[in-house]
Amino acid sequence: MDLGLDVTDHGDTTVLAVRGEVDVYTAPRLREKLVELVSQGKHNITVDLEAVDFLDSTGLGVLVGGLKRLRSHDGDLSLVCTQHRILKVFEITGLTKVFAIHASVDDAVGA
């Protein structure tokens, strides 16, 4: 089971496109990548979840941790997600109130 992690820069914003299943096995790699980006000075990160097939509470925790880390650098972590089954996990945990969730990467980087 592979987790795809592709980084592209869009002006001030760094887009991290995640592909595959984010769970207790793969979430550590997502966490490491976020830590790496922050340590490179990337303080505005958009995590693109459009190619994610599965996201569990471990994945949510990593995103919350990433947001906390970025806020402490006066930065932000936003999400791109339109998939119903992934959005649902944010909705029932109330995390739609914590993250800015965009419908596309263009929306996110233009925002």
Binding site: E21, G61, E91, I92
Partner: protein, 169 residues
């Protein structure tokens, strides 16, 4: 009341090592079995899959501190009006009534909590869940009634946040 015996002939068992790389296999088996049950809608299959995945993750993490050569047992069974999945570990056990609650999602303090979303998620996603002490360990029993979902998802916007996710209670 659900009264499905453990030894029911249609039971399927999957036993995996208590290691993170095997949670995906548990999901695959559960979603395959659930899909062959035509009365269960796709989004309910996703709910069951996520709930079972969370229970397996907890079972695996329970062993992480103890003995990673331990095993986790997943037992699937079916009855006319419901599906049942049991996830069993031999970890230290816990008391599901004394879990910490998160601060409200609007409180900046909320960001200090990366964990503790698994059990509230399970409770929201499935029709019935029990955390039973086993000797030793924990047996989580998840039940999904067939037919349309009885739990409505709180939609984005200014709807209420369900209990267990940082409401002040």
């Amino acid at each position: 009341m659900v009264s499905l015996a453990n030894g029911t002939p249609a039971a399927i068992e999957l036993e995996i090592p208590a290691r993170p790389e095997y949670v995906g296999l548990a999901r695959l088996v559960v979603s395959s079995l659930a899909s062959s049950r035509r009365t269960l809608a796709d989004d309910r299959i996703d709910d069951l899959k996520l709930a079972v995945s969370e229970a397996c993750t907890n079972a695996i993490e329970a062993h992480a501190d103890v003995d990673a050569s331990e095993r986790v047992l997943l037992r699937w069974s079916e009855a006319d009006d419901h599906l049942q999945v049991q996830v069993e570990d031999h970890g230290p056990g816990f008391d599901p009534r004394s879990l910490p609650t998160h601060p409200p999602v609007t409180d900046p303090e909320r960001l200090n909590f990366e964990r503790g979303l698994g059990i509230p998620l399970i409770r929201s996603l499935v029709d019935k869940v029990e955390f039973n002490p086993a000797e030793p360990g924990t047996s989580v029993r998840i039940v999904m009634f067939c037919g349309p979902s009885e739990v409505d998802v709180v939609s984005d916007g200014d709807g209420e946040v369900p209990p267990g996710f940082g409401t002040q209670d």
